[in-house]
């Protein structure tokens, strides 16, 4: 989100934020995980990716989704996975989207970016690239993303830079181990004429198991907030740190949860979720194959109706910070086993930490699906009909680098 242009005396009635919270007729943009296949196995993967799902959308189905997005002027899609570039039709779908007025920003671990691909990407206005990097050196990065993934990401950045691709994104998920590297991340982005993007670690997907150890401490949250505030619009955040607005001035962005209101997620099998960090039955709005297409799901889903209706604030309603943080991130609460109408686990007043201590043991929900390498079935539904395809050639492939969290 960038500029808001308004005359000094806007029309009376609902505020802009009010309109956005009530949901738009079509999302502004959406995240589209094209495949659960990934050549990496990042410990914090938000979609528990690894192996392709045998029921992933076919090329023609993806084209139909793009046609729908074009009709409804959805400006761009954030494509991810898994590692979306391992889909054989990835480059075709990229061209199909951009030739149908749907811009593409895709997240990649960089393993498929060659000099030739970089030149092709640099030539298009409609394509943006995010290279995932979770440490400013190989030690910190590879501990999360796997051996060799740092070198792979840096090589991709070099290819893009050499091809003249200006302003691609270096996408970092903030963790306990890389908060002290913020300046180094910035230097890496600057070196390649790229833009740094730092987003919040959510306890989603495989990160359910590592969030307790990986998420920044409360002192680090404050450090991160101060650093981001000083950088202003120079560093992107995907609006993901609105829960820190209670520290003081809001960070650039809309500072609201857009889930099911202005953004959503389409997963590889066509399930539509409220946001990329909420791959769970609780946040599933429907399936575009079985429920009348994407826009129908977007407009008619009962879940999305609920997300667009006014939220009470619950236990947070009387907090003086509520107007700033809006109660934080529902997905972060859900996957840490906290009530949705209570404080965010990283509440700046420490109320989330207290709630984490007080929560019922064993009450944390598991993601509804798991395509991780080396796991046989989803924890909640062993033997599910959508069980990942063990026979896929990418299954168990040696590590190189995944899109991780975005």
């Amino acid at each position: 989100m960038t500029a808001i242009a308004a005359p000094a005396h806007p029309a009376p009635g609902r505020t802009l934020i009010g309109y956005l919270e009530a949901g738009l007729d079509a999302p502004i943009c959406l995240t589209w995980e094209l495949t659960y296949a990934c050549n990496l196995a990042c410990t914090h993967c938000l979609s528990s990716s690894g192996r392709r799902d045998p029921h992933e959308l076919k090329t023609s189905e993806c084209e139909a989704v793009i046609d729908e997005l074009q009709r409804h002027k959805v400006f761009y899609v954030n494509i991810g996975g898994g590692e979306a570039t391992v889909r054989p039709d990835f480059w075709h779908l990229l061209d199909y989207a951009t030739s149908h007025d749907v811009g593409v920003k895709f997240s990649t671990n960089g393993s498929r970016i060659t000099a030739a691909i970089a030149a092709r990407l640099a030539a298009s206005n409609y394509v943006d690239v995010q290279i995932s990097l979770d440490g400013a050196d190989a030690v910190v990065n590879d501990a999360i993303r796997g051996p060799g993934s740092y070198d792979t990401a840096l090589a991709a950045m070099r290819y893009l830079s050499d091809a003249g691709f200006r302003g691609f994104k270096v996408s970092v998920v903030a963790t306990r181990h890389n908060i002290d590297q913020l300046d180094e991340f910035k230097a890496i982005a600057d070196r390649f004429d790229a833009q740094l993007r730092i987003t919040r670690l959510r306890p989603s997907g495989r990160a359910v198991d590592v969030w307790d150890q990986l998420h920044p401490t409360s002192a680090q949250q404050r450090q991160l907030y101060a650093w981001l505030l000083a950088r202003g619009e120079e560093v992107l955040t995907g609006d993901s740190f609105f829960h820190l607005a209670g520290f003081g001035a809001g960070l650039p962005g809309l500072n609201l949860c857009g889930a099911g209101r202005v953004v959503c997620l389409i997963d590889p099998v066509g399930d539509v979720y409220a946001c990329p960090f909420a791959i769970h039955e609780r946040f599933r709005a429907g399936n575009l194959r079985h429920d009348g297409g994407f826009i129908h799901v977007w407009r008619e889903s009962e879940l999305f109706r609920q997300l667009r209706s006014p939220r009470s604030g619950g236990a947070c309603a009387t907090c003086f910070q509520f107007d700033a943080c809006r109660g934080g991130c529902p997905a972060a609460k859900f996957f840490t086993g906290l009530p949705l109408d209570g404080p965010d686990p990283e509440c700046v007043r420490g109320l989330g930490e207290q709630a984490l201590v007080a929560r019922e043991p064993g009450g944390r929900p598991r993601p509804s699906q798991d395509h991780s390498h080396g796991r046989s079935a989803t924890p909640d539904s062993p033997g599910d009909a959508r069980r990942p395809c063990d026979a896929h050639p990418l299954s168990g492939a040696p590590s190189a680098a995944s899109a991780g969290q975005r």
Binding site: T2, A8, H9, D25, Y76, K105
Partner: protein, 100 residues
């Protein structure tokens, strides 16, 4: 996010001819419109339907002032519309063009 406000304002030439940038697409919304620039990948929100009307008319009017008047903006509100247009200029959404 650059919010249009008094601090960052600069003089906007209401008497020049302007146009929406070629790489910008407008999407009408109940609050006004979303504007997306495919080149800079910037998203802007036009928070007032009348401002959207002004922007739509820029191409066909000899000046931004004429576009404002055609959209029903009265003289007293011209300065605030000029500030909003200046914000759009800064973000590259609109640009000056040769007078037709």
């Amino acid at each position: 996010m650059a919010v249009a406000g008094p601090a960052g304002d600069h003089a906007f030439d209401l008497d020049h001819a302007w146009d929406l940038s070629r790489t910008v697409v407008l999407r009408p919304e109940r609050f006004g419109a979303l504007a997306y620039d495919f080149r800079s990948r910037r998203l802007s929100m036009l928070k007032d339907p009348r401002l959207v009307e002004v922007v739509r008319r820029l191409a066909e009017c000899a000046s931004a002032r004429e576009a404002c008047l055609a959209a029903g903006v009265d003289d007293g509100r011209l300065p605030s519309f000029a500030r909003a247009l200046a914000a759009l200029e800064r973000s590259g959404m609109i640009h000056e063009r040769a007078p037709s």
